[in-house]
Structures are given as structure tokens and as C-alpha cells.
Symmetry: C2
Subunit: 253 residues, 2 copies
Amino acid sequence: MKPNYGYKYPRPAVTTDCVIFGFDLKESVLKILLIERGIEPFSGKMALPGGFIQIKTETDADGFVVSEKNETLYECAKRELCEETGLKINYMAELGTFSTCGRDPRGVVITDAYYALVNPSDVKGGDDALTAQWVNFHEVLEVIGHMPKGFRFLAFDHDEIVARAYRSLQEQICFEPIAFELLPEKFSMTAVQRVYEEVLGRQFDRRNFARKVLDSGVLDQLPHTGRNVYYSLNRERYEEMRSSGKRLKLIFV
Amino acid sequence: MKPNYGYKYPRPAVTTDCVIFGFDLKESVLKILLIERGIEPFSGKMALPGGFIQIKTETDADGFVVSEKNETLYECAKRELCEETGLKINYMAELGTFSTCGRDPRGVVITDAYYALVNPSDVKGGDDALTAQWVNFHEVLEVIGHMPKGFRFLAFDHDEIVARAYRSLQEQICFEPIAFELLPEKFSMTAVQRVYEEVLGRQFDRRNFARKVLDSGVLDQLPHTGRNVYYSLNRERYEEMRSSGKRLKLIFV
DNA sequence: GCAAAAGTGTTATCATTACACCCATGG
DNA sequence: CCATGGGTGTAATGATAACACTTTTGC
């Protein structure tokens, strides 16, 4: 048994929430996955998938806690995401914590927020999850932007989490090869460009765009199967590059 | 009284820890502030300043919790930092959470880590804090890098937090005008360059460096008092720039 | 058959780097 | 007086952005 140093402070409840982005190739539209809450608080409202961190405690005969084991917050986010959506995650990154007092009417509940990227194939599959649904991301942003002061579209402070996730996605896509995590194994250069244009809200010149992306060196060109050219992400080359301290130059100023 | 939705899950203890960077202008050396722990666990070891999030609870006559109020994790980090060091913080940013099981021998303790930048004037003042001391940052990194596998220099998982803080500092200094937060109100261009060179571990050409920094537009040149030129950070111009979606181009590839 | 998408290079402009000498200050 | 730090500009190189026409495919 471990020594008991005794922590008598009140503890907050701790959750993770995840903003899941998917890219609909047919419509060239960025989507996020929301679930409809079935229970209070915010029953009936849309919310991000998430839930409480799991801690397994062992107690002795007198009911005193002998040992505790916890999953990491990252594992928690991944677990909740799988449990609630069944999706296969290509990429997940931490956004940060949200802990303003009153964000959860049930008491002190701190959340560690993440954002995740999934494949378009998964996007379709996710649809049959009970209350989970893919919604057009920019429409969600619009709605959030037009809520009257003091009102929110999503449950809890999820409006803010979504906004932060989008900012983070926009920043990361400029330096990290995360756009490819929104695409299938093989993809055309046009598909890549669609992702960038949708995420950054700007148009690019096709030739200049292709040059920059290819110059970054993280893509393999696949042997022509049809007339069109397809690519796949070379993760090894990316890892080399990143461990050598180089950032990708996918910056589009 | 608020409705009781009932959270029966075991809760983790939650702390914040902060990596405080300071820049010693005379020696041109980056330093961090460490405190020597006076109590178990890790008594006698060096650690990052930090502590538990404060939650105020009100209970009714029967001892049931009626309401809880908490500070945000950001406020917590700031409070702990002030309490333990008395320093005035110029800048503080979240690094992320650390939650691997077993990181604290006392049980499940999750930490939200921050890093902070303070002025050189504060650096001197901090010295008289009881057990807090400024140590050469690169020396700390050296020691951490040479610890045999399974051993750590700092208490808890603070070795890793420090490493993450440094990575974050290196990345941020390329795009955000945070170098100036390590300097006094008025500073010479050389001082700025010293900060960049110390943080990024590389030398720059004086003229090219000055051009880039000045082109960013966030510095005001102060009227010559002596023969040398001094500058100060124009926070307004920086905020304009940042809200207009532009990132600083302080990238030194 | 027509509209929309994909393939393909070159040039002008802009940004970045490399580089040297003189003067002032302080030890 | 010598060493160090600070002030100042230009030219070559490399990166980026603007640009049009032809072919293919799907409706």
C-alpha cells in the first residue's frame, strides 16, 4: 500500500470533449460530428462527444481507498470518441482546458478539449450512430456567430470549444500535414486543395498549390492507374522531417 | 439550490504547474525558476511552482454540498505563481495537461501545465523568495538529458513539462512577439537578438535580424536619449495585426 | 455537345541571405 | 589603445505569385 499523503481539497469532476472534423469529398464541405443530448442538463441540445475520465479505485475492508488508477486524458478522449461514435481516428490533438466557473450547471466540471480528424469513409459510417450526426461546420459557425448575447447554440461552453478547435485547425494545417488525415489513403491533388480551401476559406492557384504541397516532400505519387494522378502521405518522410526540427512549409500567406 | 444531477465518478485531484522563464540580460542566459520542495513526496527535489485548484463549497445543515465555485485553471496557475514567487507575469500560456497514471505517488493527480515569461527586473527580485531560485535553463536541460533511464532530475514528471515548455517557447517565439516579454520596457535591438539566439540556439546576422523584427511592425523606436537606439513593444499594433488574422513573420528558417 | 475539372511552364516580383567598414564606448 | 558593440546598405539568390490553353470526363 502506498503512503497516504492525504489530499483533502475538494476535487473537480474532469471530462474530455472532442471536436471531430470530417471532410465530405463529394460536397467539398467540412463537417463536425455532434450528438444530441438525451439527458439533463441541456437535454435535446447538440453537444460534442465526451465524458468523464475513468479512475479505478481499490478499497480495503474498511472502505478506504488503497490505490487509484487512471487513464490519461488523451486516452479518455479517444475512448469516449470510440464509444460514442465508433469512428476510427486518424489524428487527435489537445486544444486545452476549459474551466470557467459555471460552465456545467451540475457543479465544478473541468474539461480538457481535443480535436480529431477522421476519414471520409468513416464520415458515412458514423451516420447510423444513434444520436450522432455530421453537420456542416460552416453552418454551425454561422449559427453560433448569430446567437444573441447570452445564448448558445451548443450545450455547455461547447460553442467556444468549437471556435477554438477551428482556430487550431486553421493554424495547424499550415505547418503540419494534417489535411491528409481528412482524406482517404489515396487522394488527388485537387482533393487536397479542396480541404485547404474549405478550412482556410480562401482559393488557391492550382499549379502553385500543387508545387508547394509537393515541394514539402511528404507525399508519394502513386503509379498512374487511370488518367489522373494520385498521391498518398509518406508518414516516414514526415517524421524524419519533423524530428530534424523542420516544419513543413505549407504556409499560405 | 441547484438541481443535483449527481456525479458519482471518482474525481482526480487537479493542479497547475508553471515553467517560468526569465532572461538574464547581463549574461545573455535563459533561466527558469525552480523551487525546492520542503515536503514529501520528492522532498528536497527541485520542482516547478504549482498547486491545487481552489474550489469553494457551500454545504447545507446536513453536510450536503449545495454549491461549488472554482477558479479557472489559468487563474489557479497565476495565483500559485504569485503566491510562491511574487513575480509579475508578462505572459502566460497553457501547455496542456499531464495525466499519465502514477505521475504523482499520492494518487491520481492531473496537472494542467503553463509557461510564463517575466522581466529581468523581476528576475533579481525573485531571488529572495524562500526556496525559489533562478537556474540556467540550458544547464537544466543538459542535466535532464543525461539522467539515466528511469531517473529524473525534477520532481514528478516535471522534466517532461520543462521539455514541452521549451519546445513551445521555441515555436511561439517565431510567430508571436513574446521575446519582448522577457525584456524590460525599453530595450535595444541587440537585446532582442540575444533572446532569440539564446532561445533558438542559433546566431543571426545583425542587420538582417533587425530588418525582420522591425518589418513586423510591432516595435516603436523611442526617441534617442543617448547614442544608442531603443525600442518598445507596441501592443496595440500587435493586437490589430493579430485580430486581422495575420501572424507575425518572425520566422527564422 | 457542353460545362466543369485536370493536366502542364514561364516570367515578374518579392523576400531572404550574405557580406564589410566605420565610429563610439569602456576597460 | 585596443577590443567590443553598435550603427549602416547593397547585390545575388531563392521563393512566391500571377498567368492561359488544351484535354478529359460526366451530365
